[in-house]
């Protein structure tokens, strides 16, 4: 067993895939130096043709990657800031995503879009603190948010191997997570398959990204009082509806904790599908950022906009008592 950090797991995934498959290459800003610590050392290992520092031309290099993918490559793009995905939304949602269907299956666009440090990094303020995974899920771009080192490895590997565009969010709140893992067992984690991090029988808590840790802490805290099952979708789209149904139909109670805006977010999607299709014995709840939130700079305000353990405890208690 080795102690593996989430960040190192991401790096290992990228190195493994680049070693395995010549067509994989990585591009983005300041990735040779590796300011985000994922691509550090890759230049020396793979050379400048496979580790491409780009000018600040996000739209250009995103569609450049689409073109390279159409010509047989497997580009991985690192974005420094989650909101840079807003800047390339047309290039991902309207170009890369649509080629397959619009060409009647002639074309494949295997590009991975990768954001190390999504969500609030504390003190980076309004334009650097978004968690816009729901946008991609809505338009139908495959979207994953790993919560553990092993999943960071396994989902990144799967994203790169996938024949479609995939966005992978690595929440700032997860980068420091470490786990004891057997490095030999690290392997691809399929898209669209959730996982139970902790079994329980009273309430299903669906937690996204770094809030898996929040949920586990809350489950510990409530031990003896309420038996909390912590379920992690891992992929937000495609979503493991049958996995969720298995849990919810057992507990009959559902709370979602999700660090994105409430209105039209993934938490709402989960509640909606559960209400339509699953056996709920109490009204479900969600703990999210407020609707339309823009994260203010001051620490107290920034934190006030993010969901936290206390809110989760309240929500779990509420659904449990109904």
């Amino acid at each position: 067993m080795a102690r593996l950090s989430y960040l190192k797991a991401l790096q290992r995934a990228l190195i493994d895939e680049m070693s395995r498959d010549e067509s994989v290459f990585v591009l983005g800003e300041d990735i040779r130096v590796g300011v985000n610590n994922v691509t550090t050392g890759l230049l020396a290992k793979f050379g400048p043709q496979r580790v491409l520092d780009t000018p600040l031309s996000e739209q250009g290099f995103t569609s450049f990657a689409t073109g390279a993918a159409l010509a047989g490559m497997r580009p991985v793009i690192e974005f420094q800031i989650p909101s840079l995905l807003f800047l390339v939304f047309e290039q991902i949602a309207n170009q890369a995503h649509k080629f397959s269907l619009m060409t009647g299956g002639q074309a494949r666009v295997p590009v991975t879009y990768f954001v190390p440090g999504s969500g609030s990094k504390t003190g980076w303020a309004g334009q650097h603190s978004d968690h816009p995974y729901g946008l991609f899920a809505h338009v139908g771009v495959k979207t994953v948010v790993p919560a553990t080192p092993a999943d960071a490895y396994g989902l990144f590997v799967s994203a790169i191997r996938e024949d479609d565009p995939v966005v992978i969010f690595a929440p700032a709140g997860s980068l420091g997570v470490r786990d004891d893992v057997d490095l030999e067992t690290l392997s691809a984690v399929p898209l669209g398959v959730g996982t139970i991090h902790r079994p329980g029988s009273d309430v299903t808590v669906v937690a996204v990204g770094h809030h898996v840790q929040t949920a586990l802490a809350v489950a510990d805290q409530l031990e003896g009082e309420i038996s909390v099952e912590v379920w992690d979708p891992r992929s937000l789209y495609p979503f493991d509806w049958s996995g969720l149904a298995e849990s919810v139909n057992r507990t009959g109670r559902l709370v979602v904790i999700d660090d994105s805006n409430r209105h039209c977010g993934i938490a709402g999607e989960i509640l909606a599908t559960a209400a339509e299709q699953m056996r709920l014995t109490a009204p479900p709840r969600r703990v999210t950022r407020p609707s339309g939130a823009v994260l203010p700079f001051a620490l107290a305000l920034d934190l006030a906009c993010q969901p936290d353990a206390e809110q989760l405890v309240t929500a779990v208690r509420e659904v449990a008592k109904d």
Binding site: F25, Q49, T54, P55, S57, Q59, G60, F61, T62, S63, F64, A65, T66, G67, A68, A69, L70, A71, G72, M73, P75, E90, Q91, N94, Q95, F99, S100, L101, M102, T103, G104, G105, Q106, A107, R108, V109, P110, G140, K142, E162, D163, D164, L191, G192, Y237, P238, F239
Partner: protein
């Protein structure tokens, strides 16, 4: 070469005229952006390309798709939304593509193809063992799109074998070039150190020559090039204009703009008998295409989401 250039110019012209009829008859829904008047550019540029080169095209893409070698019959079936179409009826006019022929597709978003072509051409470099190039076609309207300018910078920086072809037909829908382009069109290329030239886009032979020179320099590893082709759109921006009758081009200009006709320019160089036999073959081909397109089956509604993903995950 003269005969084959003429053949392509004429094929595109007649193909488009047939399409306009099929729009009127309701066989093509959604309408088209006719390429009529601009045929010499697609024909001339694509004549300078090899089978294994690639192109990206535009909303006004039929000419490029045909000139790069797509089967006119399956192309027309695509425009009629049939399963026998190039894209199995999923793409239509604005997305017609044939990847087996290096046609990376028409595109509904102005300026979007430049970066895609640049990425593909860079991949060719990376994959080694050849000297393939990519061509991105776009209109005068596209040179005000940020993503296209970004792509030109990337292409120049990384010496990518891509040719940017601007078809300057004087208008972006209703807006004139002088109202949309500050500076000059070729000035955009110069800004990034990309060599450029402006040529007569009505003469396929002239276009062919200029494109050949640019393509050869790209093949030699000298990086991107830029070609501005001066032309005129003879028909509407889009077939909805046929009903809507919006007015934005001076009547005299519409007359003078049509005086130099790419079909006549290319055809005038042929022996009349040769020309006639080409024309006849084209009519026969298009008759066949129309018959095929109109009688082919439409896709089954239950297959509406086929091909949405490359890996068959049902979300």
């Amino acid at each position: 070469m003269e005969a084959s250039l003429y053949r392509m110019v004429r094929l595109i012209r007649r193909f488009e005229e047939r399409c306009v009829e099929l729009v009127r008859s309701g066989d093509i829904i959604g309408g088209i952006h006719p390429y009529i008047g601009q045929e010499a550019i697609a024909a001339g540029v694509c004549a300078a390309l090899r089978f294994d080169d690639i192109i990206t095209s535009t909303h006004r893409g039929h000419g490029h798709v045909l000139a790069k070698g797509a089967d006119p019959i399956r192309m027309l079936a695509e425009l009629c939304g049939k399963v026998t179409g190039l894209n199995r009826g999923r793409g239509g006019s604005m997305h017609a593509a044939d990847f087996s022929k290096g046609i990376f597709g028409a595109n509904g978003i102005v300026g979007a193809g430049g970066a895609i072509a640049t990425g593909a051409a860079w991949a060719f470099l990376r994959q080694g063992g050849g000297d393939k190039v990519a061509v991105s076609f776009f209109g005068d309207g596209a040179v005000s799109q940020g993503v296209l300018l970004e792509a030109m910078n990337l292409a120049a920086l990384w010496k990518v074998p891509v040719l940017f072809v601007c078809e300057n037909n004087g208008y972006a829908t209703t807006l004139t070039v002088s109202e949309s382009v500050a500076g000059t069109i070729c000035g955009r290329a110069s800004a990034f150190g990309i060599p450029s030239s402006t040529v007569d886009g009505m003469d396929a032979a002239v276009v062919f020559e200029a494109a050949s020179a640019a393509v050869e320099s790209a093949r030699r590893g000298e990086g991107p090039a830029f070609l501005e082709c001066l032309t005129y759109r003879f028909d509407a921006h889009h077939t909805w204009e046929h009903k809507a009758r919006v007015r934005y081009r001076p009547a005299e200009e519409e007359v003078s703009g049509r005086l130099r006709d790419p079909v006549e320019i290319a055809g005038g160089r042929l022996d009349p008998a040769e020309r006639e036999s080409i024309d006849e073959a084209i009519e026969a081909l298009l008759d066949e295409a129309v018959a095929f397109a109109t009688t082919s089956p439409a896709p089954d509604p239950s297959t509406a989401l086929d091909y949405l993903y490359g890996s068959a995950v049902l979300p």
